[in-house]
Structure formats: structure tokens, C-alpha cells
């Protein structure tokens, strides 16, 4: 893949040369090597203000701006309508426009299945996967159960059943709840809230008995000692070892598998351009995100949000997306969330 490094201050000259040469007709037919945005670039957020995607967009905006990674300004546009469907349709309609990208997560698989949205991630151009979000089983700190075994035992005997709060319906949190039921044999009542933040405060207030929030959604109430982290739904523990809550680091949370609860689930955070964009335009963004990954803003953000670092592009990313999509299709069919089947 042609990949011209574009350090601050040098792209302009490269483009100027590219432009002059193409004006002269010398390179007619071959794309200019160092394409760069001609106008402001829009970061499309498929969620509401203040949510995890919005925070990531603000971090990207700050990282690009402070480190001078791009000459054109970056704007964040919130398209969280219809649980993010608005953003997906907006990107689909923007085919050929290299001046916007969306921060996508598992909604690219779940929305078409659950809400019959006429969308396929192949309508867009994958750029890179920048991180993975993990999920943790949390309970209220005032409750007597302190680990997976005692939680499961309490849930099995509970009447009325335990309530689990989560974001939205027929999405990642809901899928995890269904698998908790299958693996533990306990019954849960799932309450779909509008955001992870709401699910967090509802757990602290005792209105639900557990949630499966991402680390970032619960970190503040965890630090305040209001919730307890029971286990993480992944095959390895979270890597960060510095103390976050009173006496615990993210790394101290056991995996669910260690505790005999065999559930693994992580969620991608990926960047997509609209469909039908030129390869050199994709190359520019791949390069941009490579550079962003080196900035202190990005590193700081990853640790603070306890995200799992990752960097997949090109064929590697596409094959991951295909596998991940198949997995979601299977999970959602098993859970009975596919529209028209329940």
C-alpha cells in the first residue's frame, strides 16, 4: 500500500507538487501520492453527548489539534438518533466523501439484525480498529455477595429475579445478560436504559442489582467504593496495573472464566470512512491513526478508560470484522433478538 509519511508542515508541499504535476497532465490517471483533506473533517459519533464514543471523538479532536497532525480543522458531530442508526445511515449516504469518518462499535452488526436497518458494514470503508472495550460484571458494594459464586447463588434464589441494567435493547449489554442466564441458570430481568452512565447510577442507587458496564462507564463509582467488580468477560485480565479503586487495579479483577463463568465478549472501537473512497484517501487516515496512537493524549485516554489497545487495518481488519459479525449473528439468533424470529 502506498503510504507516504506526512509530518506536520510537509504535507502542504507534497500536495502542492502533486497538484502542479497533475495540472500539467503528467500524472493523469494515477492518484496523487499524498492526498490530504481539502476541508474540515467531521468525526461522526453514533451515540449521545457525553457517552464513550463522544469522549473518544473529543480525545481524537484534541490529539489531532494539539499535535498538529492535520491542517484542516476537525469537528465532532453527534448523530446518536435512533440508538446510532442515524449515524450509520448518514455514513452510508455519504458515499465517496472522504471528509467524514464514524467511530463504530458493535452496533454495525446488531442494529441491522435487531431493527432491520438497511445497513451492512461493507457499505462503508474500514480504516482501522483502534481499541477494544471490555465488559465487567458489577454489583452494588453494599450487598453481601463479594464474588461470582456468591452472586450466582444469590441470583438463583432471588424472588423477584435480580435486575440487570444496561444500555439499550438487543445490544451488547442485553446479549451478555442472556448469556449470564444461560451459563448460571439464574433468571434476570433486563432493564434497558439510555446510557451506561444511567446504568451506573441506577446500580449505585440500588434500583438494579448488577450491570455489565464497560470499565470507563463505572470507573468513578468504583473509585468511590460504591460498586464492586466481580469479573471481566474476557480471556485475559485487563492489563493496567496501577491502583484505581481503594486497593484494586484493573488487573486485580479476575476473568469470569477463572471464576467458572465461561463467557467471553469484547467490543470493537473502529474507524470507518464512507463507501467508494479512493485508496490514497484511506491511506491518509490509516497513517493519521497510526500517528494518533503515538500521542500522549491517546495513551492517557486508553489507560484512563481502561481500553484494550489494538491496531488492525487492511485485510487483517476485514477478516476480523467478518468473524466478529458471524459471532454476533450467532449470539443474537441464540438470544432470540433477530427481528422477525421472535
Amino acid at each position: 500500500m502506498p503510504n507516504t509519511p506526512c509530518r506536520a508542515g510537509r504535507c502542504g508541499a507534497a500536495t502542492a507538487i502533486a497538484l502542479t504535476t497533475s495540472l500539467l497532465g503528467l500524472t493523469a490517471g494515477t492518484p496523487a501520492l499524498a492526498w490530504e483533506p481539502q476541508k474540515s473533517v467531521e468525526i461522526v459519533v453514533a451515540a449521545g453527548a457525553g457517552g464513550a464514543s463522544d469522549q473518544m471523538a473529543r480525545m481524537l479532536q484534541a490529539a489531532i489539534q494539539k499535535n498538529d497532525l492535520m491542517k484542516q480543522p476537525v469537528v465532532v458531530s453527534l448523530k446518536g438518533g435512533a440508538s446510532g442508526a442515524e449515524a450509520l445511515m448518514y455514513m452510508k449516504q455519504g458515499a465517496g466523501d472522504p471528509h467524514k469518518f464514524v467511530i463504530a462499535y458493535s452496533l454495525i452488526y446488531t442494529l441491522p439484525l435487531a431493527a432491520k436497518l438497511p445497513f451492512d458494514w461493507r457499505d462503508l470503508t474500514p480504516v482501522s480498529i483502534v481499541a477494544f472495550d471490555q465488559f465487567v460484571l458489577w454489583s452494588n458494594a453494599t450487598k453481601p455477595y463479594t464474588d461470582v459464586a456468591s452472586f450466582t447463588a444469590a441470583a438463583k434464589g432471588a424472588q423477584p429475579p435480580f435486575k440487570i441494567g444496561g444500555t439499550g435493547s438487543k445490544r451488547e449489554d442485553h446479549i451478555l445478560t442472556v448469556f449470564l442466564e444461560k451459563r448460571t441458570g439464574a433468571k434476570f430481568t433486563y432493564l434497558p436504559y439510555k446510557s451506561g452512565g444511567e446504568a451506573a447510577t441506577q446500580l449505585v442507587g440500588g434500583h438494579v442489582d448488577a450491570n455489565v458496564n464497560n470499565p470507563s462507564e463505572n470507573v468513578e463509582v468504583w473509585r468511590a467504593g460504591q460498586v464492586r467488580a466481580l469479573c471481566v468477560f474476557d480471556n485475559t485480565r485487563i492489563a493496567y496495573k496501577s491502583k484505581v479503586a481503594a486497593d484494586q487495579s484493573w488487573n486485580d479483577i479476575p476473568t469470569c472464566k477463572e471464576k467458572g463463568l465461561d463467557i467471553e465478549y469484547t467490543m470493537l472501537r473502529g474507524i470507518f470512512l464512507p463507501g467508494k473512497v479512493a485508496p490514497d484517501q484511506v491511506a491518509f487516515y490509516v497513517d493519521l491513526f497510526k500517528k494518533i496512537a503515538q500521542t500522549p493524549e491517546y495513551k492517557d485516554y486508553m489507560e484512563k478508560q481502561a481500553l484494550k489497545p489494538a491496531f488492525l487495518t487492511g485485510a487483517e481488519m476485514t477478516s476480523f470484522l467478518e468473524k466478529d459479525e458471524a459471532l454476533h449473528k450467532q449470539l443474537m439468533t441464540e438470544a432470540g433478538f433477530v427481528a422477525g424470529t421472535n
Binding site: Q55, A62, S83
Partner: protein
């Protein structure tokens, strides 16, 4: 008094030349942003957020929150002069503010609005200063049933306390509830009433509807009736400001009641809107002389403005202490806090004392400076009404269209706004009140979600709405308000019977 010491420290952080300059700049920008319908606080803050990335967090939040205060003040200006509410909670201000402007009392109405917002904010800031930790905990007691009970209370106070024919209130409210059903349903994860149109995915935006219902329909009516804005130039001078101030002590009960409602509802998310409507309705109910509401009474402006601003300010408390944004603007401020490396949450008041108390001190200063700033512009803005209608109407329509477009960058919203303009015109001709429709558009979705979550949680048992003291009181109060006319009717009839017996 630990709080006082910390607050003084906060003032010390703020009282530097550059911070005061930022404050003035923020307020001025905010007033301009607020005057343009649809642009409003959230968009203004979102546009200017990147400017603050290079500042230290305290300067940044001072500037952004001043834009917020400025936009709040500015929103009242368009509500009163042109019947176009800039924010959801300015809707109730139009009920009496606009008629006052038409009677030639624009300056009085503006002064009343600005002053009462100041009073409301001040009450809420005092609350934040002295009882922050315990009040923040109060918000945690709100689960789905409690939220639903608050919304029910607001809806019921409309039906029970409204002056208009009840069936017309119910018609208007029901239409609003139906319209909020469009889009994604969070509880089932399904799309509803979108009929395959991509534009309908995001649902009907409240501000788009309001700009059409109030702004455009008013222009249509004016065109039909007289081709002139009725507000002819009153004598406009700073004297009006002082005269209005002199009359305010008479309304102390209204101000106090609205401030209490506002502070109380402010700590529950979305409370500011409910507070402004409830403040208005209760002022109407408790007024000794009930005539003239909706036709330009000054306490009809004071009540909603005080409540809305008390609630809007109090809403910053759950944002700082719990990370729950109480309004759209608060949500964007929340995003900003994260960029500056501050995570709102229970530990915020412990770990970032300087920032928190700097912010609280900026609420005091920002409101005082803001009040002086906007009051000095009252004569200027009131003079706008002297411009001939033929010149100003196209400008209003254009700014409405820009506003409707800017909310979600969608052309579809402009057509929707015009459609709502026609609907508003028809409603006014039929004497159907618009307020219940707008209220339903704002709170309908949240009320529906809260109700269904309560039902899922309780397994369909309605007794959940009386399951604890808090929710039980709210629900009972709501039902009492709903049947208020019937109850007072029964009581007076019983009284007459007793007297006849005696």
C-alpha cells in the same frame, strides 16, 4: 464553615484580569448565541468547545459556563419579543412574556425575566454551596418509578390546573405523545413509525417543532390579521428597569415558590423543563386574582423564569457529583470535562476542590456580570419592536430556518418546522393550547421509558408507584392535581349542602 472558606478560595482563583475577560467574552458570545433561535446553549458550547482545549480546566469551564448563562439570558429575549423559545425551558416564558411585549411592555417583561432568572440561579447556587453532598445523594433515590411519577406530576398539573377547555388540553397532549413515538424505541430496540424514511429515524426534534409551532405560526397570524407587530414603542429607558424592580417585592411568594420547585426538580435529570411549566401552573393556581394569565401578567414571566433557572443551575450539581448531565448543554460540558482530564463523579468534590469551587464561584460572578450586561441591553433589544413588520418578518423566518437546520444539519428539519408552523396556526385558530403538545414532545419519550422500565422491573404490578414514601407522595400528588377541578367542585358543593342543612 468549610464551604465558605472554599468558596472564598474559589473567588480568589477567579478574580484575575484574564479570567474576568474570558467571563465577559463568554457572556457576550452566549447572549448572541441565545438570541438566534435553534442555535441555543448546547450548539454554542459545542462549537466553542475546541477553543478551550489549550486552556487550563478552570479557565475553560468559566468561559463555557458563561456562554451557557449568556445563552440562557439570550433565550428569554426571543421568547418575549418574537414568541420563539430558544430552549425547552423558555416555552413557558412566552405565555405571558410575548403578550406583554405586544402590549408595549417589552422592557418590563425583559427586566422581569432577567431579574427572576438571576434570583432563581442565585437560590440554586446557594443550595449547591451549602448542601451539595447531601443533595447530590438525593438524585440517587430516583429509579424508573420515581422518574415516571415526576413526569406524571407535570402532565397532570397541566390538565388539572390549565385554564383552557380540558378536552382541548388532552387533544394537544395526546398528539404530542404520539409524535414522540417516532424513531427508535429504547425499550424494545425496534424502529417505530418511520415508514422506511431515513429522516424519521432520529424522531421529531423538540426545538424544530417549537420554532415552527411558536415562531412561524405567529408570523402567519400576524400576516393575516394586521401586518404589524402590535408592540409599539413604549418609553424605553433604564428607568423602566428600576420601576420594574420596585414592583418585584410584591411577588415574593411567586419567586420563592418557583425557586423551591426549581431547586428540587433541578437535581433530577430533565427537571428544568418540568420546573418551568410547573412554576407557571402553580403561580396561576395560587394567584389571588386569577384573571389575565396568558394575556401579559408580569408574574406569568417571573414564575417560569425563576423555576427554570433555579433548575438549570441546580442541574449542574448531579453533573459534577454523579456524572449525570441534567440537560443537553450539561452533557456537552461533561464531554469537555473529560478532555481536560477531569472525571465527574462522587470523588470530584474531594479530588478537584479548586476546580469545583472555582466553578461554583463562577456561577455567582457570571450571574451578576451577566445580569448587568443584559439589563444594559434591554433598551436596545426592546427597540427591535419598532422596526416595521415587513422588514423584520423575513429576518425572523430566515433565522428560524437557519436555527431549525443547524440543530441536526438536516434540510428535512426545515420542512418539518414549516409544517409545525401551519399546525400551530390551525391550533391557535381552534383555540387548542400549544403548551401541552410541546410538553409531551419533551417529556413523552422519557415518561414512556420510565413507565415501561417500572413495569418490567415490577413484573407489571402498578403498586410499584406507591412502593416507597417518595414515589407514593409524587404519584398521589399527581392524581390529586389531575382531578383538582372535580375535587374543588365536590368540596364546594358539599359546603353548600352543609350550609343548606344548617
Amino acid at each position: 464553615m468549610e464551604a465558605l472558606g472554599l468558596l472564598l478560595q474559589g473567588f480568589q482563583v477567579l478574580l484575575t484580569v484574564d479570567k474576568l475577560l474570558l467571563m465577559m467574552l463568554g457572556l457576550t458570545l452566549g447572549v448572541f448565541v441565545g438570541v438566534l433561535p435553534g442555535l441555543g446553549g448546547p450548539n454554542g458550547v459545542a462549537i466553542l468547545l475546541p477553543l478551550t482545549f489549550s486552556m487550563d480546566p478552570t479557565s475553560a469551564i468559566v468561559m463555557l459556563s458563561c456562554i451557557y448563562w449568556g445563552a440562557l439570558f439570550g433565550g428569554a429575549i426571543t421568547s418575549i419579543l418574537f414568541n420563539i423559545p430558544g430552549e425547552a425551558w423558555s416555552v413557558a416564558t412566552t405565555f405571558d412574556g410575548y403578550p406583554m411585549a405586544q402590549k408595549g411592555q417589552a422592557a418590563e417583561a425583559l427586566t422581569a425575566a432577567f431579574t427572576s432568572s438571576f434570583v432563581g440561579s442565585l437560590a440554586a447556587v446557594l443550595l449547591i454551596t451549602f448542601v451539595a453532598p447531601s443533595v447530590a445523594g438525593f438524585a440517587l433515590r430516583f429509579g424508573p418509578p420515581e422518574f415516571f411519577a415526576v413526569y406524571l406530576l407535570t402532565f397532570c398539573s397541566f390538565v388539572g390546573l390549565g385554564r383552557e377547555a380540558r378536552h382541548k388540553i388532552v387533544i394537544s397532549m395526546t398528539l404530542g405523545l404520539l409524535l414522540t413515538g417516532i424513531g427508535m424505541d429504547t425499550v424494545s430496540g425496534q424502529l417505530r413509525m418511520t415508514f422506511g424514511f431515513t429522516d424519521l429515524l432520529r424522531g421529531i426534534n423538540f426545538l424544530v417543532a417549537v420554532i415552527g409551532l411558536f415562531g412561524i405560526s405567529e408570523i402567519l397570524l400576524t400576516m393575516e390579521e394586521r401586518l404589524a407587530l402590535r408592540g409599539h414603542a413604549a418609553r424605553i429607558s433604564l428607568k423602566v428597569v428600576f420601576r420594574t424592580w420596585a414592583s418585584l417585592p410584591r411577588y415574593w411568594a411567586t419567586l420563592a415558590r418557583s425557586a423551591v420547585i426549581g431547586c428540587w426538580l433541578g437535581v433530577t435529570p430533565g427537571g428544568a423543563i418540568a420546573a418551568s411549566f410547573m412554576g407557571y401552573n402553580l403561580a396561576k393556581r395560587f394567584a389571588r386574582d386569577k384573571t389575565g394569565f396568558g394575556k401579559g401578567r408580569i408574574d406569568g414571566v417571573l414564575a417560569p423564569e425563576t423555576a427554570a433557572h433555579a433548575a438549570g443551575t441546580a442541574a449542574l450539581l448531579p453533573m459534577l457529583a454523579l456524572g449525570i448531565p441534567g440537560s443537553g448543554t450539561a452533557a456537552i460540558l461533561l464531554g469537555g470535562l473529560m478532555v481536560w482530564g477531569l472525571n465527574p463523579g462522587p470523588l470530584m468534590f474531594v479530588e478537584h476542590k479548586e476546580f469545583v469551587w472555582g466553578t461554583i464561584a463562577s456561577m455567582y460572578l457570571g450571574n451578576v456580570v451577566g445580569l448587568v450586561l443584559v439589563l444594559s441591553t434591554v433598551p436596545l433589544f426592546a427597540a427591535v419592536l419598532r422596526v416595521p413588520f415587513a422588514a423584520i418578518a423575513p429576518m425572523i423566518i430566515v433565522s428560524c430556518a437557519i436555527g431549525a437546520y443547524a440543530i441536526q444539519n438536516a434540510m428535512f428539519d426545515v420542512w418539518l418546522m414549516l409544517g409545525f408552523g401551519v399546525l400551530g396556526y390551525v391550533f391557535k385558530k381552534l383555540d387548542i393550547p400549544l403548551a401541552p403538545l410541546t410538553l409531551a414532545l419533551v417529556l413523552g419519550n422519557r415518561a414512556e421509558d420510565a413507565f415501561r422500565l417500572s413495569m418490567i422491573g415490577s413484573g407489571g404490578d402498578l403498586r410499584v408507584f406507591w412502593s416507597n414514601g417518595l414515589v407514593g407522595t409524587l404519584t398521589t400528588l399527581a392524581l390529586l392535581l389531575l382531578f383538582w377541578p372535580a375535587i374543588t367542585g365536590l368540596v364546594s358543593r358539599a359546603g353548600r349542602l352543609v350550609r343548606a342543612d344548617a
